[in-house]
Amino acid sequence: MSKYTPHTGQDIDVMLREIGLNTVSELFQDIPDELKVKGDLKLNIPDGLSEMETLRLFKDIASKNKVYCSIFRGAGAYNHYIPSSVNNITSRAEFLTTYTPYQAEISQGVLQSIFDFQTMMCELTGLDVSNACVYDGATAAAEACKMTLDKKKDHIYVSSAINPQVLQVIRTYLHPLDIEVRMVPVIDGKTDLEYLSYALNENTACFYMEQLNFYGLIENAKDFGAVCQDRKIKFILGFNPIAAALLPSASECKADIAVGEGQPLGLPLSFGGPYLGIMTCTSALMRKLPGRIVGETVDTHGKRAFVLTLQAREQHIKREKSTSSICSNEALCAMRAAVYLSTVGTRGLEQVAQQCLNRAHYLADQLCTIKGIRMRFHGEFFHEFVTVSDVSASRILEICDEHQILAGYPVGENEILWCATEMNSKADIDYLVKCIKDALK
């Protein structure tokens, strides 16, 4: 018999008899014989290992991945501290092994935690409504663009300074709908406002930009929001949930929809997933918002209760007319985010954001003390920035790698996108700079 199936041979006999069959294979009598797999399935991989062997195997595989002592790379995935409470709470079987909370009476715990999450996302962005999350930040952006479409719209504008992965996903989502994705160019690393105000027209569905752009620069999102509002074009703002503690909120920037990658909120880097797609919007757009939404109501005794609501937008009701096909989302990741934010609290989140800001600026200053390394752009940045160097980017990466440091992300021959968070101590930064200086002497 096999793992995780509790049947004894005797049990199986009892059950077969009850069904009126003699053998297990008779259960599959409806399947034409010629289609059946002959003999046992060979997976062509290690197979049927004990738990001990399995763990040994995977420890061995894991050891082939390099875990760096210090990480100065972001570009869409950020290394933040994860308080102990996050793993502890979210690894409870009650949250881990339950399904989507369709049966409200026995899912209040999950529903209430999503309601908490929705409140926190509304707080981060200042907008009215949040969903219970989508797959990741890139799909959130793509879904948001879709929310703004109607029959009269044939294109959208996006800043060319957005994260390139997000741009690719937006393209994938809009291509089958015959919606053109047009780019707004940049000047000195920041989105060109003048171009946007010229380019928007009555067939533009929306404009998407990121408050912290791909180069880490802080965009003047308020100005763009004002232009979009003036031209009656929907404004979608991509935001970083840590930076949101300090930067003008999406609502202050007049965004209709705010989207973001929630990974910085207590999710490990984990080679890119699972992450967390955050989506909030104004109440005017609420019925176009994809995914689940939890609402507060009362039960038969008048007690507070939570249920999935506005379900008539969703695929299981509206089928081909639904706003999106999303069903499984990233609920447990949303819970991690909620626990993270509850652990750090109002001041804690600001502290994390402030330290990111401080350390990134210290890092930039220190890197620029190295001969031949300069800042690539001039605008104000948050926790990422680009340097340009006389030596090649790959040389600097190599130096860092030798010292167990993951350097910034190379974005050109000589350009590196660096990131610093609360995880990069002053000593780490000084060590990094010393290593590069010594090697380049």
């Binding site: 060319s160 300074a161 390139p164 741009l167 780019m183 160019p185 940049v186 060109d192 003048e194 171009y195 010229y198 027209n201 791909f214 180069y215 690539r376 680009v386 992300y409 974005v411 050109g412 021959e413 350009e415 996108l417």
Partner: protein
Amino acid sequence: MNTPKRTSLYNAHVKHGGKIVEFAGYELPIQYETGIITEHNAVRNAAGLFDVSHMGEFMVEGSGAIETINNLITNDVALMTPGGVIYSLMCNEKGGVVDDLLVYKFTDTRFLLVVNAANIAKDYKWVEEHLLTNTTLRDISEEVGQIALQGPKSEEVLSKLLPVEQQPSKNYTFVETKILGVDCILSRTGYTGEDGFEIYCDPSKIEPIFEALLKAGEKDGVIPCGLGCRDTLRFEAGMPLYGHELSDTIPANEVGLGFCIKMSKPQFIGKDALESHPAKYIRRGVILTDKGIAREHALVFKEGREVGYVTTGTFSPTNNVAMAMVRVEKGLDSPVEIEVRNKRLKADFIKLPFIQKNNNK
């Protein structure tokens, strides 16, 4: 879908081994048995003969003709003398390009517009909507056949049918003449970057001229050429092709054709839009330094960011290297990267055109 039309040279193409494809609603040869590279090289080194009967021709006549055309196009017909030809863009109100075209001036009240085959219906409607008083418009596309003789030996080959003195002597000029007894408009124009001629006449009478030119040029290496090399030739010459480098939504001041946009003119459709438009994109040429060919729509990257896309990309037979025309942000430095088959290939900017023209007539 409409069934594709045939030009009056269809049988000639089949006879010469043309590989027929559908293009802009016409059945035309993409190449002959000789192949694109051979045809391409024939035009660069000797001469080649093209059937371009699919092009659209409009007559604009009347005392309002100059004003009408000047309102429609970015170039200035007021500066033309009879027998002149100019290249121009025609814009919409937003400054996007409705089409690019040639304008032939016969007299102050009589002009011929030559437009792209795929745009005939759209252009006709557009011009018709903007006709000023005392002006008439006639679509004569069906009544006109057109062939193009292109290459350094064009003059010599044509001289066997028409003495050099009777040929238009300068680029962008034309004459009305007879070839083999057929009334023709003969202009010194083309779409290959080489010296050459374009001949307009009654389509039913065009085949003898086509065959006679082939015969006249046989010893010099003149061969019939298809659409395939027409594209590589115009590409090398840095000439835009509508639907690729030019479109309704690309502003005219972003395509590097400033020479034909006369902003000093008091008015033309799209002028206001172009005046207020900050042109932040530009048409440029690149040469690929990594192995591979960048095709149309391939994305261009700089510093990890998408900065534009390829509008035409091909292997340049003359330069023996992969090149592309791209629409990118202004002010970028080399190198850039072009995404081809999921890989980023390096490319450097180079000046357009990709070849040195030897066409100084």
